[in-house]
């Protein structure tokens, strides 16, 4: 096989349908200028003291007043065969919110200097009615970052680069000459959060790390990709990816070399954890957000309290899950993290809520308020979804399918709450006949349709969950095992 230049290899990347790390790592709509950035900021303790004073003052004019501040950074290091890049985005935001008992007023600012905060507080106070409020006693709490072995704040930049370089070095030789390209990346989000008001006075630190490795395979005509990743509430140790994970990704990329086009139709399917995670995220949980339930527009709203799946299916969201990428100590309205049951032994319990949607729907507040871009309106969003594992191993699940497909390596998904419908794109589907893999692979593929039908058809879940994490647009992780069900499967293109 002729030796390929990097340019020739990358030129075929589009056919593989994979995004190179250095393009994936850019925040949607906000490509970062390349380079390393120096840190900047005001001490959090100083900020905290000022917010306590501000909220106390606001409580003189409003029935309830709160402040949520976040200060932090998102840093990325990317290394491939012959280049390295470092970039960093800083973020500082404050949302002051107050209610007169009938309406809520919010004032948000990205200027966390003492003067910027005073200006925001004055603007909010001007909209208040005096004499209604009074200072409320506050319960203090701290939500420290999860246990980290290598704290990013205590590690100099050169060591970050060294760790990613060593991860990249470990990929050399894996897959032999058919793997023609390898790249490694690390992305770390590190934020301090302060919430004051509504009876609470909380501080917390959130650290989320995601390490990724990309492999490209070449069959002489087509370039195909697969990636391995490790993400969680970790420090720089996220780059310590075990060899099994790397080899699984290499094996996946090589298996794509024999992929072929699929004939569309309804099939019995075994979804691997990455595909099941996308179905959970975009399909199932996508229909269980309370803002879509307002006005009865969401299909799932009419199924609350009813059996929507077999008893083998239990799904919950747990923002306090130890070490989870999407975890955090309190939501963007200061509500404490606690698990919320979405589907319990097949019965649909209810949606994720925030303050306003819980009140409007007269449902319990689950503490899943998330502000888009840190200063947007709060809406309920998942954090760390967990599809409870079952007793059956993956091999047994495959053996339980007479004729169907094992769908692997999820790429992306979308969902619509109104009809409770979804679509997930995956890299390949392996044919199952008589309970065994035939060796024939097809790809890329799309599975989709009605979530309600997929849940009703679910037969079993596997015993070995895996965690998949994303940051588009907000940090979210899903723990999901294999899942056996029936749905429409078709060609990706």
């Amino acid at each position: 096989m002729p030796s390929l230049s990097r340019r020739e290899v990358l030129a075929a990347l589009a056919a593989a349908g994979a995004a190179p790390l250095w393009l994936d790592c850019r925040a949607a709509g906000k490509p970062a200028a390349p380079g390393a950035a120096a840190t900047a900021g005001r001490p959090v303790s100083d900020l905290h003291q000022q917010l306590r004073r501000v909220v106390t003052d606001l409580e003189r004019s409003f029935a309830i007043a709160t402040a949520l501040a976040e200060v932090g950074s998102l840093r990325r290091v990317r290394i491939d065969e012959d280049s390295r890049a470092v970039d960093e985005e800083h973020a500082a935001s404050l949302v002051l919110a107050a209610s007169d008992g009938a309406s809520w007023f919010e004032q948000a600012t990205l200027d966390l200097s003492p003067g910027g905060i005073e200006e925001a507080a004055a603007a909010l106070a001007a909209r208040g009615r005096s004499g209604r409020g009074g200072r409320r006693a506050r319960v203090e709490a701290t939500a420290p970052a999860g246990r980290m072995r290598l704290d990013p704040r205590r590690t100099e930049l050169a060591r970050w680069i060294d760790r990613v370089a060593r991860l990249h070095d470990r990929t050399r030789g894996l897959g032999g000459s058919r793997i023609v390209y390898r790249a490694a990346a690390l992305e770390v989000e590190d934020r301090d959060r302060v919430f004051v008001g509504d009876g609470r006075d909380w501080t917390g630190r959130v650290v989320r790390s995601m390490a990724r490795v990309l492999f490209l395979a070449w069959d002489g005509e087509t370039l195909l990709s697969e990636e391995a990743s490790r993400a969680g509430a970790l420090g720089l140790e996220a780059t310590e990816m075990d060899r099994d994970r790397l080899e699984a990704a290499v094996g996946g990329a090589l298996s794509l070399l024999t992929g072929r086009a699929l004939t569309s139709g309804e099939h019995d399917l075994v979804l691997d954890p990455s595909v099941a995670a996308l179905v959970v995220r975009h399909g199932i949980a996508g229909g269980l957000l309370a803002d879509d339930w307002l006005g009865g527009g969401a299909h799932a709203a009419g199924l609350a309290g009813k059996a929507v799946a077999p008893a083998a299916v239990t799904l919950r969201d747990d923002p306090g899950a130890a070490g989870a990428f999407g975890a955090r100590g309190f939501d963007d309205e200061g509500w404490p993290a606690a698990p919320a049951a979405l589907i319990e032994r097949g019965v649909l319990r209810g949606p994720l809520t925030c303050r306003a949607t819980a009140a409007a729907l007269q449902l319990p507040r689950t503490g899943h308020a998330r502000r888009a871009d840190a200063v947007g309106a709060a809406a309920p969003r998942p954090t760390h979804l967990e599809l409870a594992p079952g007793p059956t191993g993956a091999d047994e699940l495959i053996a339980s399918v007479k004729d169907g497909f094992l769908v692997e390596s999820g790429i992306s998904g979308r969902g619509d709450a109104r009809g409770w419908r979804f679509a997930v794109q995956a890299r390949r589907a392996r044919e199952i006949a008589g309970g065994r893999l035939t060796g024939r692979s097809y790809g890329p593929v799309v599975l989709g349709g009605s979530v309600a039908a997929l849940l009703q058809a679910a037969r079993a879940v596997g015993s070995q969950p895996q965690v998949v994490a994303w940051r588009d647009p907000e940090p979210l992780s899903v723990s999901a095992p294999h899942m056996v069900t029936r749905a429409w499967l078709g060609r990706g293109s």
Partner: protein, 422 residues
């Protein structure tokens, strides 16, 4: 109180070991009102960022420093530290091009500037007056943003832009969302009229039967967020992707596997009050109108300041509003069913196109089904998938024009033989 952006050039000139620099400042004020639940909010944003460039034998190192809220002493310290870190991330060498005049384009409505709260109030009144419509959830917003850029080439420029947006969910499940720059052209009234009709129709909609259909899209259905089905074309035109060899085509090459010989797509960031119009881009490069695809062949790449410099050509500020060439058939001809049933898409629940491969999936939220000899029926809930390059290459476009959001082009676009599943 942070250092004024106008003072930064003086400070930048004294930072050692920096070869070139850019200073970017953004100030935003956004007022919004929500229903379900009721509330109002104001967001004030300010960002002051400096980009430092250091050249060496191995290329150009770059650093981005956030100086928002810094006084002069803090800014000097951060800039000095950043200049040292610039050596850690080195890419290919390039230099800032000579300054060029920004595009002359209006993007700020005088009726909106200084009157954000009043504008939001007026949008709320329009929503309240819409007869027969019950909004269960809504967010109406008005925003004013000021942009300023300065460079080490003694260049400085600034402009204001206004943006009005709405996102409303009605009791019948219809969702209308959109954005514009002018109070009198926000699109809210038109969207409310369409939604009123759709909301009534939705109550009688039946599920789409899985079959092969011909699909007809209007301007509103084409103008989905993120460039909709055109997103892969936009992504492949990225100057960075082309330079790295990541694009499926290069200038001069055919874009579509089949067809598209009369398909011409232009990026035009100079349309007055266009949703994606601007005088200059994110690094201060002037925005220019340029041709992405001409008669099915790729022409120009999207080039910001850096990519233009690396390519050795003037930058164009990236892809902005899209203008698609008209076709040869009338909208009436395209709206007539043929041998297959015709689905006229009234609303897509989503359209998700992978920018690299072009693979897309889309969910039909509401459509009208036409069969020859039958009355039209309203249907909902169907999924289709395909590849954007293959679908657009064989799409039929109307002679008549329409516009919505960032889209200017045929008011009707028809794609035959698409499998829709349930």
């Amino acid at each position: 109180m942070g250092i004024p952006a106008t003072e930064l050039p003086r400070i930048m000139k004294s930072v050692p070991e920096v070869d070139e620099w850019l200073v970017l400042e953004t100030r935003t004020r956004r007022m919004s009102r929500t229903l379900g639940p009721a509330g109002s909010r104001e967001v004030v944003g300010h960002s002051l960022v400096a980009l430092l460039f250091r050249d060496s034998e191995t290329g150009r190192g770059a650093t981005r420093v956030d100086l928002t809220g810094d006084d002069e002493a803090a800014a000097r310290a951060h800039l000095a530290a950043a200049a040292q870190e610039a050596t850690l991330a080195v890419g290919p060498g390039w230099v800032l091009p000579p300054p060029a005049a920004p595009a002359r384009v209006e993007v700020a409505d005088p009726e909106v500037i200084g009157n954000l709260a009043g504008v939001v109030g007026e949008m709320s009144a329009q929503l309240a007056k819409a007869r027969g419509l019950k909004a269960v959830r809504a967010e109406l917003a008005a925003e004013l943003t000021s942009h300023r850029v300065a460079s080490s080439h003694d260049f400085a420029s600034e402009y204001d832009e206004t943006r009005l947006s709405f996102d409303v969910t009605l009791g019948g499940g219809s969702r209308l969302f959109g954005a514009g720059r002018r109070l009198r052209r926000s699109g809210l009234l038109e969207a409310l009229e369409r939604a009123a009709t759709d909301d009534r129709a939705r109550a009688a909609a039946r599920p789409i039967e899985p079959a092969t259909y011909d699909l007809l899209f209007g301007a509103a259905a084409l103008a989905m967020p993120g460039f909709g089905c055109f997103a892969p074309l936009v992504a492949q035109a990225s100057g960075e992707r082309i330079r790295l060899g990541l694009s499926r085509y290069r200038p001069g090459q055919k874009v579509f596997p089949r067809g598209g010989d009369d398909f011409t797509l232009v990026s035009d960031g100079t349309i007055p009050f266009g949703l994606l119009s601007a005088p200059f881009g994110r690094l201060g490069e002037p925005v220019r109108r340029f041709v992405l695809v001409e008669d099915g062949v790729a022409v120009d790449a999207a080039l910001d300041l850096r990519e233009g410099a690396l390519a050795g050509v003037p930058p164009n500020g990236g892809v902005r509003n899209l203008v698609l060439s008209a076709g040869g058939e009338s909208a009436a001809t395209l709206s007539a069913p043929g041998e297959r049933p015709l689905l006229t898409i009234r609303e897509l629940a989503w359209l998700d196109a992978d920018p690299l491969s072009g693979d897309l999936t889309a969910e039909v939220a509401l459509a009208t089904l036409d069969r020859p000899g039958s009355s039209p029926a309203v249907v909902a809930g169907g999924l289709f998938s395909g590849n954007a390059f293959e679908l657009l290459g064989r799409a039929r476009r109307s002679r008549e024009s329409g516009e919505a959001g960032w889209y200017r082009g045929p008011k009707a676009l028809r794609i035959d033989r698409v499998e829709v599943v349930r």
